[in-house]
Symmetry: C2
Subunit: 250 residues, 2 copies
């Protein structure tokens, strides 16, 4: 099976690398960014082009959500399977007379960070059943966590990930802002953050909640509000404390 990966960003890089590490050949990388394609091509020893996309059996579209639809129209054959890799975009955004699929890896990618691919869940959606089998057989070589999710479920998976990952990171950024302002090294908080996450590996997050809001300790809450001089920090503080109180009916 001849595979082409479209894109040169973090997702394209990690798809190519995961295939390579598991003995699956990638015939071509195709994209617009010569600099990035050159880098990936050299590291992984895969040919690339910015001009002519090869005829293949399977294409992975690993580009920004906003570009998927446009890129999906350039596939040079109808006798193929085309999968985009986005959590938020419908399978119907693929425009062409080929067979359609989605392969959504539930992970946050950056090029500089090594990942254990076998632990990354991949959620598959296909129009045709036989393609589902093809993708399962292929992806099982990479990961031991293969799932299936139609558009609406995949969108909820993506939404859940926004809460659990994107928003969490933003709280770390806001926390560091507070620490920086008072010359407190942010490194001090890393063991606490690690432990917070370790806990939910064996305890339901709802049962692991600590802090002044769940203790309904309004004197601490009021004192914290006085310490917060930034309106965005204060809005987050109030919103999340209110949400905690509502969740536990305090």
């Amino acid at each position: 099976m001849k595979i082409v990966i479209i894109g040169s960003g973090n997702v394209a890089y990690h798809f190519a690398k995961a295939f390579l590490q598991n003995g699956i050949a990638v015939a071509q990388l195709f994209g617009r960014n010569t600099t990035e394609l050159e880098k990936i091509s050299q590291e992984l020893n895969i040919p690339y082009s910015t001009k002519k996309i090869e005829i293949a059996d399977l294409y992975f579209i690993c580009v920004n959500d906003a570009s998927i639809q446009e890129i999906s129209t350039i596939i040079p054959t109808e006798n193929c399977l085309v999968a985009h890799t986005s959590g938020a975009i419908s399978i119907n955004n693929l425009i062409g007379n080929y067979r359609k699929a989605v392969v959504y890896p539930l992970q946050t990618f950056s090029k500089t960070k090594k990942l254990v691919y076998s632990e990354i869940p991949f959620f598959i959606d296909t129009e045709e059943d036989k393609d589902r089998e093809t993708l399962v057989n292929l992806l099982q070589k990479i990961s031991r966590k293969i799932g299936f999710a139609k558009d609406i479920t995949r969108k909820h998976i993506h939404l859940t990930a926004v809460f659990a990952c994107n928003f969490t990171n933003h709280l770390f950024a806001r926390a560091k802002e507070i620490a920086d302002k008072h010359a407190i090294p942010f490194d001090y908080f890393l063991p606490l953050i690690d432990e917070t996450v370790q806990k939910i590996h064996h305890l339901e997050p709802k049962l692991a909640q600590t802090g002044p809001a769940i203790r309904n300790d309004n004197s601490v809450l009021e004192e914290h509000r006085k310490l917060l001089k930034d309106s965005e920090q204060l809005l987050i503080y109030d919103t999340l404390n209110q949400s905690i109180k509502k969740m536990y009916e305090l």
Copy 2:
């Protein structure tokens, strides 16, 4: 030096255990909850009482913030050092003619979870310099991360921890709520959560941000808003996305 620990909760338990593991004797556990004191006493082989608190050189008050002031009045001697262990409470909430201190461990504790005490930062405050030395010498046997923080700094450390730890856990709880509603196993998200936290060990959180808000992808944001039927989830979603956009001036 004779040490007494007051309280029978998670903090009292881990203080006692950390001392024990590092060859520091604890003379007595004192508190009101016989069941809990009995348990800790048996596990760690430390005598306890609910009636008569022993004369000692050093007392650690490990009780709820709201009870610290009241408990601080029962210390049976003036020739001693008394430390409370709260991040949010002033050293001045200790009421008595003894020497006063705070020893604030920056960690989230639960009795069932083993901790690596050597990695936990302890922030010390004392009225008198000689007590500072005493506490540093003692706590250095437990942890390699000893810091100093007066009331106002300690309160900011606690506030930062609320953002980085309490709020983060609440986001996990809200994320699980969404996943549960759509029959998506929350376990799928653990590698993503782990990676989110791993990243900020070597990358500033502000530089690690991903997701639709920082891409200013308003079509995904709007679609997510339509998926969210719960008003608390929606309020969190809007507040945090707005905060992300403001931080990056989008």
